[in-house]
């Protein structure tokens, strides 16, 4: 169980998520059940299968030209924090 917990903690970190300590046991159990179920696929012989690209031939390409986009104000419409014409974020580079 502790290694399962470690796995869930590692994956949650990669996913930029945190599972509440009070929910972790049930979460780990459900996660493990699902992983065991999807392991069903390991029994399927896929050696002769190539990974085909899923692009259908009826997909269209468009000309590489400028198209109408959202205005600066529209883009910032839902930003929780903004400064002037920009999204505001926390400082990511420390000054010397």
């Amino acid at each position: 169980m502790s290694s399962d917990r470690e796995l869930v903690n590692k994956i949650s970190k990669l996913s930029r998520l945190k599972i509440d300590e009070s929910d972790i046991d049930i979460f780990v159990k459900n996660f493990k059940d699902i992983l065991e179920y999807i392991d069903l696929l390991s029994s399927v012989d896929t050696n002769s299968e190539k990974t085909q690209d899923t692009i259908q031939k009826d997909y269209a390409v468009r000309d590489d030209t400028t198209i109408d986009k959202l205005s600066n104000d529209e883009v910032l419409l839902n930003a929780p924090n903004k400064e002037g014409k920009f999204f505001a974020v926390k400082k990511v580079i420390e000054s010397e």
Partner: protein, 486 residues
């Protein structure tokens, strides 16, 4: 009584009612009764009343537009400019759309009356509409039971008569399963038929929008109005809009024109007894009516759920990485911690449990050391499942199964067992993986008065024949026109 798009069109032609009168009827029904069902996240009262008044003036000019003045709702996953689009998540509870989805753009050109947005499972992840941040939707046939999901609000609103039709999305059955649970028609078109532009992404290679409606004809009318190439969706097929309604009502066809395939081995998964009985009766009837029914094998379909729960979460983990509380979405002010910590905080508090679970499943499948064993493997099995269908369609025109192996279940019954919830999608998921059109229509009611649905899956891009077969079955089954009482 159920009221179809065709009924409304006739009603307008005969001047039985005006758009304003009709919309008042729907709005008062929603106001008085949706407290019991919770099928809407938002109702656009004032806006739709104003729009109806405008339509009153031009009513006489719209003889050929079946959607004119038809009260329609949208799953809260489609953007409508200047309106909220929440995906039933705390993450997007205040999100305001800054452009229109392609689906809404096309419908609004037809002068529909947009009633509002329907409740759904959070980010379309679920089969019961219980994961909504705004609380569950109840099934109008029995309010102690779920309406299915994820388009459960759409299905419940149409079934209860709170909207004439709704647009939903289907990634693994999210249109067909709720349609089946609520006793209405639900159609998932061929992947790429309907533009995904302005539809919030869950699993981009599987997501497809389609109608939930009161009849096969109504589903066809909506399909014809929302299909067609859209350059803003790179997987939109370069095809003209469908013209299926015209074929449905003008062509001559009968059961003897079609061969139905039944994957009997797949159905050994364990169907509810009543569903099995009703399904077997239908097959016997079909043969009597002159249809050819043959047994087919889809040997890889039993791997569909496992395949789906690798591919869909993988794509979701990537698609949902955009929700960081910086550009949009739930954000909590905090002085402490760095940028990464604020991402973690916003995402952990903004997403519900099921969404977190699926993001993490996907992150796991795509992570270093597991990619080949999970994601790549799933892509190959998906191909094998598609080949199964290709083989089957050399002998049949459609594949017939129940839509779900079980009846609508009680609220809370599966909430703590996600795997059990996932397994109930075994009959709907294969069509998504194989990108095929698939429709659910009502088959009848169980002893407890709960709807049972059957599913027809058609060949790629063959919506017209799929709808013809569904229409023949619909006439034969003659499901009740009465609305559920609750």
């Amino acid at each position: 009584m159920k009221r179809t798009i065709e009924d409304i069109h006739k009603g307008y032609s005969k001047k039985d009612f005006s758009p304003s009168e009709l919309i008042q009827e729907y709005l008062s029904k929603i106001k008085n009764l949706d407290t019991k069902i919770n099928s809407y996240t938002e109702v656009f009262d004032d806006k739709v009343v104003k729009h109806a008044k405008e339509l009153d003036k031009i009513l006489h000019k719209n003889e050929n537009n079946f959607l004119f003045g038809v009260p329609i709702s949208l799953k809260d996953i489609f953007l409508v400019k200047d309106e909220k689009c929440t995906c039933s998540s705390k993450m997007l509870k205040n999100y305001v759309s800054n452009y229109d989805s392609c689906v809404y753009e096309k419908l609004s050109k037809r002068n529909i009356l947009l009633l509002g947005k329907n409740n759904m499972d959070e980010f379309a992840m679920g089969s019961s509409t219980e994961t909504s941040f705004f609380g569950p939707t109840m099934n109008p046939w029995d309010i102690s039971r779920v309406p299915g999901g994820s388009s459960g609000g759409s299905a419940a609103s149409v079934s209860a008569g709170f909207s004439c039709a709704s647009l939903g999305t289907d990634t693994g059955g999210s249109i067909r399963q709720p349609a089946s649970f609520c006793g209405i028609v639900g159609l998932k078109p061929t992947y790429g038929r309907v533009s995904r532009f302005g539809m919030i992404a869950f699993s981009s290679s599987l997501d497809q929008a389609g109608p939930l409606a009161n009849s096969v004809n109504d589903a066809a009318i909506i399909l014809d109005s929302v299909t067609g190439f859209d350059s803003r969706d790179s997987t939109s097929l370069n095809l003209k809009p469908t013209n299926s309604y015209n074929s449905l009502i003008n062509d001559t066809y009968s059961f003897s024109d079609f061969t139905f395939g039944v994957p009997s081995k797949l159905l050994e998964i364990g169907l509810d007894d009543e569903i099995k009985y009703k399904f077997d009766e239908l097959i016997k009837n079909l043969k009597k009516l002159g249809a050819k029914v043959i047994d087919i094998d889809l040997p890889y379909a039993k791997y569909a759920v496992a395949t789906y729960y690798i591919i869909a979460p993988s794509e979701a983990s990537s698609n949902l990485s955009r929700f960081d509380g910086i550009r949009y979405g739930f954000s909590e002010e905090s002085e402490n911690g760095d940028l990464i910590e604020s991402y973690i905080n916003n995402r952990s508090k903004g997403f519900g449990e099921e969404v977190k679970r699926r993001i993490m499943l996907g992150t796991y499948s795509l992570s270093s050391g597991y990619y080949d064993a999970y994601y790549l493997k799933a892509i190959k099995v998906k191909q094998l499942i598609s080949n199964d269908f290709k083989n089957a369609f050399s002998n049949v025109n459609s594949i017939l199964t129940p839509t779900c192996p079980e009846l609508p279940f009680k609220l809370g019954e599966k909430k703590n067992d996600p795997l059990k919830m996932y397994l109930s999608d075994i009959l709907t998921i294969p069509a998504n993986l194989a990108q095929l059109p698939s429709i659910s229509i009502p088959l009848g009611l169980s002893n407890q008065n709960l709807p049972i649905g059957i599913q027809l899956t058609g060949n790629r891009l063959d919506e017209v024949n799929l709808l013809k077969m569904a229409s023949l079955l619909e006439k034969e089954i003659n499901f009740t026109k009465e609305l559920p009482k609750f």
